[in-house]
Every structure is written in structure tokens, then in C-alpha cells.
Subunit: 268 residues, 2 copies
């Protein structure tokens, strides 16, 4: 993946969105991830540290190495972890396809929202497998935009989300990767593969998720590709604006919102 | 809902499908439903008794009254419950919109895969609310065909499922009702509404679900509307056959399958 090809971009608004997402979903996605004292953990594609902060908190005595291809992201991640006072994370620039680590260097690998953006996710998993010790584990978390739906829904709302999927595909990624996590992990040579879906369901009784997930995570993400969608001619401006407005309507009274993340674990 | 308008029909194959579905999904959908000894429970739209058998087993000392609009269905349900040796269920012909019970007759109401088929699900809920005692509970379970997706997927596979949704809509039903359960229950005057999604995720590690859910429940259901889809001109024969074949491919090695049911509970 080239730095400039990252579909969500590197803006501060995007950084805030990723932080919102990570905090709201932390319990759902991270509650069952704990790495033992003294174990060496590679977090690949840490971005601005939205997940790193949860890894550092959940596994305080593990030795975490967080890498990312973007110096801007890495600097923010480092600042965030230092501000929170954690001392168990080292940061390093690295490309998943060219990891600067010897074979069998790590006890555990953690990768979140990365495979969806790379061309050749199975090859990326093979690269991660190489630096893992025999018997070591990988934990991979991905979304699947095809799992999204809302009520009330409209063709325009569905089209805006489809635009995001198509744009991500045009960058070589796959926004529908969650459903593929099991065969990808198997295909990369891992065994004891287990994938568990994590469904986020939002209705009027869950105002924290309306704000933290539906609006500030999901709709904000889709809104982020507006210019690309219009430039590529994937949708006209009026339809786009109606689609986004319709999605916001589904965050109002009587509306509902659904999305599923997939968490996979496997052994080398 | 008129008897003849029931989208899935009344064939024996359909009866087997509904039984398969109920057994495979029983734990997922029923594990948290228990009615106390002596309580009066109305199961509305019991069909051939696929859910009744689980209600009877889970609440052995409740007094269950199971009603359905179809004499054929009701006869099968009665035979099934008698064969299993349960004595806690009475059967009666009834239409949800014209229930032959006095106001405030029941402590609990249970309704499963019924609201999706009726024209006016909110009105149906109001009719059920009428026969419920103040403080009594309703439990409603529905699917949402828009929550289905698979890997690998194809436009034809997605189109066959969309045909089912359109056919159900043409009968006045709504195959996307799961996502609406929360606002429907609120709109019908219930309070303390809680809706919990129940996601069925199937990959190679879950052969029982490949057979019991993906093939014998979901694909079998879609296959059941083949003639209607072709007669209505919703799809051509070649596309239909490819779509079904593609869905079966997703039940093979490396394939995955997802579907979400919604279970709502609320009080009068």
C-alpha cells in the first residue's frame, strides 16, 4: 500500500474519527485481547494509535512494537501513547510487505483495519506470519461495509456506502474484507483459525452509539470520500447529499443502524 | 394476512425447512426465553410448531395457547407437540387481527416470523397488546434478509435474495423487518423495549451451520420462491439458476455466510 493511497486520508478530522471509533468500540473489539507479561507483540499498521492505546492498557507488561508506513500517523500515535503515560510501546516506521524484523521475532501479531487497505491481504498475512514465532498468535480485526444497513433506508443512502466500497477497491483495497477473514487466515498458512463477528446495533435506546458509532464513525467515514466519489463520477452531487442526509435520518428517532466487525485469531 | 398470501407456502418441504431452521437456531434465539409456572402465554402464528416445541420445552409449567390462521399448519403443530409428549400447549385457529380472546387475557405473548408477513405489523402488535395484561411482556423474533451476505458473492446471488424481498413486499410483507423491530414495538405502545440482534455467521469451522442454516434454511427458503420470481419477471431463469449456484458455492470450502435475526422484548 502506498502512503498516498490510504483511502481515508491523514487529516486531523480523520484522526478524531478514528479515535471516536476506537473508544466506542473498544469494549466490543478488545475485551478478549490480552497479551502475557514479557511477550513480544507486533502491532502492524498502528495508524495514529487509536488501537495502540487499548493494547497498551490491556497488556501492560507486554513489549509492544507498533509500526506504520506513515511518519505523520506514527508521530501522532507516539504522542498519544506518551501523553497517556504508557511505557510499554516502541514505534518504528515499517511496511507490512517489507518488515524490518528477523523471522520468528514476535510471540503475537495484532493487525486492525489494515488488511482492508492493502493490495494482496493474503500476502500481507504471510509477511506477518514470517516474523511470528512457531506457536505464536495473530489477531486481525476488520470491518465489512456490506454488513451495513439502516432504517429507514433509501437507494441514495445505500449508494453513498457503495461509493466508499468502490473507491476503496479502486485503491486496491477491499471494504468487504471482514467476511473473507477466515479463508484469508487459512490461506496464509495459519491454523486453529477462529473468526467471531462483532455486530454493532444502534437504536434510540443507545444514544452513545448513535453519536460514537453511527454519526462520528460510520457516516463521518463515508462523508470523507465525498470529493473522490464526485470526481470519479460514481454519483451526482444531489444524490450524494440526499444519501448522507438519509443516513443521518436513520440516526434520529425511530431509526436504527447496523454494522459488523470481524475479529479473527489464529496460530502459526 | 390471508392464508394464501403466505410467501413460503405450505408444502412439506417448507415444513421440513422450518423445522431445520428452528432446531439449528434454537439455542441462539430461545436460550433467554423462559415463562414462569402458571403463566398464560399466547404464541401467535405458530405455523407447524417449529418454535412451539422449544417454547413447550423451555417453559414446561406455563400454560401455552398457540394459534395460527392455517388449519393445515395448526394440525401439524398439534401432531408434533403430541408426538413429543408435551401437555402444556393448547391449539386454536385465530387471526392476529381478530384474536378470539378477551382483553388482558395473557401474561406473555410470543410471536416469531409473523410480523414480516402481515400488512400492518404495528397494527398486529397493537392487537397483541390488547390481549396482554398490564405489565405483561411480548417477545418478538424476526429476520432481516437485507442482513444476509456471503463470500464469495456475485450480483446474481444478491439478486435472487432481492427477489425474495420483493415478492414478500408484493404480498404486503416486509422481509427487512428485523431492523424495524424497535420502532415498531415503541409505536405499538409498548415500553421498556429492548432489541438484541442475533447474528448467524458460518464458515468452514461450522459444518453444522453450513447444513442446518446456510443450505437447509436460507438457500432453501430463497429457492422456494423460484417460480414466483420467474412468473413475475423479476429475474431471468439463467440468472436465477446462477444466483442459487453461487450461493451454494459460498457454502463450500473457503466460503462464508452471514445473517442476522432480531429478538425484541417489551412490556405493556
Amino acid at each position: 500500500m502506498s502512503d498516498s493511497g490510504y483511502v481515508h486520508g491523514y487529516s486531523l478530522r480523520e484522526a478524531a474519527r478514528l479515535a471516536d471509533q476506537a473508544d466506542t468500540l473498544a469494549e466490543l473489539l478488545h475485551h478478549d485481547t490480552r497479551f502475557p507479561a514479557g511477550s513480544k507483540v507486533l502491532e502492524c499498521g498502528c495508524g495514529n494509535g487509536a488501537q495502540t492505546i487499548h493494547l497498551a492498557a490491556s497488556s501492560p507488561e507486554a513489549e509492544i512494537v507498533s509500526v506504520d508506513i506513515s511518519p505523520e500517523h506514527l508521530a501522532r500515535a507516539k504522542a498519544r501513547i506518551e501523553a497517556a503515560g504508557y511505557g510499554n510501546v516502541e514505534f518504528q516506521i515499517a511496511d507490512v510487505f517489507d518488515l524490518p524484523f528477523a523471522e520468528e521475532s514476535f510471540d503475537h501479531v495484532f493487525v486492525c483495519y489494515v488488511l482492508e487497505h492493502v493490495t494482496g491481504p493474503e500476502r500481507a498475512l504471510e509477511c506477518l506470519r514470517r516474523v511470528l514465532k512457531p506457536g505464536g498468535s495473530i489477531t486481525a480485526i476488520e470491518g465489512d461495509h456490506g454488513s451495513w444497513y439502516c432504517h429507514p433506508t433509501t437507494p441514495e443512502a445505500e449508494r453513498t456506502v457503495a461509493c466508499q466500497v468502490e473507491i476503496q477497491a479502486s485503491h486496491g483495497g477491499d471494504a468487504l474484507i471482514g467476511r473473507r477473514l477466515f479463508p484469508l487466515l487459512c490461506g496464509a498458512g495459519f491454523h486453529t483459525v477462529h473468526v467471531s463477528p462483532r455486530l454493532v446495533y444502534v437504536d434510540d435506546s443507545r444514544p452513545d452509539l448513535i453519536e460514537g458509532f453511527s454519526k462520528n464513525t460510520f457516516i463521518a467515514m463515508v462523508e470523507g470520500v465525498r470529493e473522490q466519489a464526485l470526481e470519479l463520477g460514481l454519483i451526482d452531487e444531489a444524490s450524494w447529499d440526499k444519501g448522507i442526509a438519509d443516513m443521518y435520518k436513520a440516526t434520529g428517532p425511530g431509526g436504527t443502524f447496523c454494522y459488523t466487525f470481524f475479529k479473527g485469531t489464529a496460530l502459526k
